[in-house]
Symmetry: C2
Subunit: 271 residues, 2 copies
């Protein structure tokens, strides 16, 4: 979804004349060619030898290893980026690599709950932010290239340390997914007793559980690799739910209204 969308956008903007895919799944590989996402599919090492820009767009648990393997092969005129949502382990793994400068750690803040080549779309990325981590570790020309590409796609770069970005993403993205998964499980549990419970599903419900459709293969490694930050935010979230529960138990109308009013101040950061 992310890798394919990036391919479509790069081609759309005239930034790539030839796109090589590297794909473990034979079905996804041929679908990616069929959809015009990639021109051809090659093994990892062969693809690296041919590419100017190498993009790592796999589940986050495989990115650090792939990053080291890519840097082991890379020449001074090539650039490697990843598009994963966590960075601390990755940045540590490559920190002493002699070709570290050829790597730019990026996290484009766009995605949907879908995955695979059919979820790739040209209307991706524009208007969103892209986090670039530890930019001072990247060679100036590599950083410039990557910033130019993202800007051409309509994205605004913001800069952070790897640790800071992982904390922020736990709060701003990972917790939303956990909440959606848990909410789906809650209602599915009730469905055992109440067969028609979904007859009423409203727009509010749909928007809150939409993320529960996200791929477990993507999200299991994110939660486990960003474990301590995710546990931190999850603990806080459970605490907030327990506070609201106690207010409801006690008929604390004023407390509830006050809490919701404070929660509503989130509007200043939403459209």
């Amino acid at each position: 979804m992310i890798g394919g969308s990036l391919a479509l956008c790069l081609r759309e903007q005239g930034l790539a004349e030839r796109i090589i895919g590297v794909e473990r799944s034979a079905a996804h590989a041929s679908r990616a060619i069929e959809l015009g996402i990639v021109d051809e599919v090659m093994p990892f090492d062969a693809a690296i030898a041919e590419a100017g820009l190498i993009v790592l767009a796999t589940p986050v648990d495989s990115i650090p290893t792939l990053a080291v393997k890519a840097l082991n092969k890379v020449r001074a005129d090539q650039t490697v980026i990843d598009v994963g949502s966590i960075k601390e382990e990755l940045c540590e793994m490559i920190s002493r690599h002699p070709s570290r400068g050829r790597f730019v750690a990026t996290h484009p803040m766009w995605g949907t709950e879908h995955s695979g080549p059919d979820a790739a779309m040209k209307e991706a990325f524009a208007g969103r932010r892209v986090v670039i981590c530890e930019r001072e570790q990247s060679d100036a020309d590599a950083l410039q290239l990557v910033e130019d590409i993202y800007r051409t796609l309509g994205m605004t770069p913001i800069y952070m340390g790897a640790e800071e970005q992982d904390i922020h993403c736990a709060y701003i993205s990972h917790i939303s997914h956990i909440t959606s998964f848990a909410l789906a499980l809650t209602v599915l549990e009730k469905e055992r007793e109440e067969e028609h419970i979904f007859d009423l599903a409203s727009a509010g419900f749909e928007s809150t559980v939409r993320l529960a459709k996200s791929s477990p293969e993507t999200w299991t490694p994110i939660f486990l690799r960003n474990k301590y930050n995710v546990l931190d935010v999850l603990g806080e979230h459970i605490h907030q739910l327990q506070v609201l529960r106690k207010m409801i138990e006690r008929d604390d109308s004023e407390g509830l209204t006050e809490a919701m009013r404070h929660a509503g101040s989130i509007r200043r950061i939403l459209k």
Copy 2:
């Protein structure tokens, strides 16, 4: 938002030639006239005397009382409906009223996170369901009128007992709001330490916390009047979050993947 939208839709469909508003807030009253939502504003009793169809669209804690007051005045050629999201107390309060037959208890399953006359929109209701509770308690002509109106607005009626509808709404609508409020509070709490936490706010975050912008005046009475159902679902939701938390703590990759795969089966009820 709901009452105003209904007024706009009724007029749009040629179902109402004159619309009278009853409104406590002077500012909302004049705004409703300005926006063409209502033709005039009157006190409650005077409005009831003039109206063919009386629509109660207030916070749910005031609906049972208003329903009794309206039924106390109503003639055999008038019909009263409410559009609130909980029904058990309401249906009990009017159950022995001699004019019970003139009342139709309805819950149109549409809404936004906004409120007040400026949130009223003509593009409301269509394609959604409307719950009608205890239809056997309504006079046949009153029920027919109300069903015809909702069908003309593009809604599909479904029928339920009051108790059943309150349980279903706790699971399908009320919990989504609590989750959103709690999620907003979680991130706002973290913002005290991490000033720029919202710089990364993604589309997933926005869709999950959108409901946190909802009006506390609407939702405090819903949570408290539907207290036992809401506590039931909230307890289950906190339990599901704790199960996921334990899996993350134990690096239980298989358990997490399995839980998320099950959660993803929610897709069968979402578009």
